[in-house]
């Protein structure tokens, strides 16, 4: 049983396109996150959702929009893709937002913008 799953695993697209990445967790957690891991391998948080409410938005361009249809899903929509959006995007979930929430990560989606 996969705890946190993402689709697709790989995504190759042209500049200017709009794309979505889906995430699902079957852990019954209350909080879900999106992280970006760039070419320098730094993991940086983009968003978190707690009980369907956006909690964090770390100065991410508004071309990125998270959408959570229910507690188990947090999808990431990206409009007008740019070359700099190429990265690996990780979804994660935790039971609590703070203070002791251990985060469980999905396998990642490698986005390549041409």
């Amino acid at each position: 049983d996969t705890a946190v799953s993402q689709t697709p695993k790989y995504l190759v697209t042209q500049m200017g396109n709009d794309k979505s990445i889906k995430c699902e967790q079957n852990l019954g957690h209350d909080t879900m996150y999106w992280y970006k891991q760039d070419s320098k391998k730094f993991l940086k948080i983009m968003f978190s959702y707690n009980n369907k409410e956006l909690i964090i938005n770390e100065t991410v361009p508004n071309r990125f929009s998270p959408k959570s249809p229910d507690k188990a899903h947090l999808n990431l929509h990206i409009n007008s893709l740019e070359l700099g959006d190429s990265a690996v995007y990780f979804c994660a979930s935790s039971q609590d937002l703070i203070p002791r929430g251990t985060q469980y990560f999905g396998p990642g989606t490698r986005l390549t913008v041409l």
């Binding site: 946190v4 993991l43 703070i98 002791r100 985060q103």
Partner: protein, 111 residues
């Protein structure tokens, strides 16, 4: 600015050769220091959380320790299957408790 720095960037060990990975942090109001393991093409896998200076946690050949400025991940008698990138992350004291990740240490263990 909150920051997490890991060293070395890469570490090559022979099987059985013990060593330590370092994670230095400058985080306002630390609310936990986390260690993760990341294998190529996969998401980070949780290993440990440490909350206060002096705390230690162990799992198989790994032991994590915490001081007021840094954390160490000690690897005793490593095996090739311990090869991975080890990520350190600190949770700050802000109202949302962001996780701030270091760049990681890529560990290679040769048989």
């Amino acid at each position: 600015e909150d920051q997490v720095t890991q060293s070395p960037e890469a570490l090559r060990l022979q099987e059985g050769e013990s060593s330590s990975l370092n994670c230095s942090y400058t985080v306002s109001g630390l609310r936990g220091l986390f260690w993760y393991r990341q294998d190529p093409g996969k998401g980070p896998e949780f290993l440990f959380t440490l909350y206060s200076a002096g705390e230690e946690k162990e799992k198989e050949r790994l032991k994590a320790t915490l001081t007021k400025k840094e954390s160490f991940l000690h690897i005793t008698a490593p095996k090739p299957e311990d090869s991975a990138t080890y990520l350190c992350a600190a949770r700050n004291g802000g109202s949302q408790g962001n996780l701030i990740f270091g760049k990681g240490t890529k560990l290679s263990v040769k048989p």
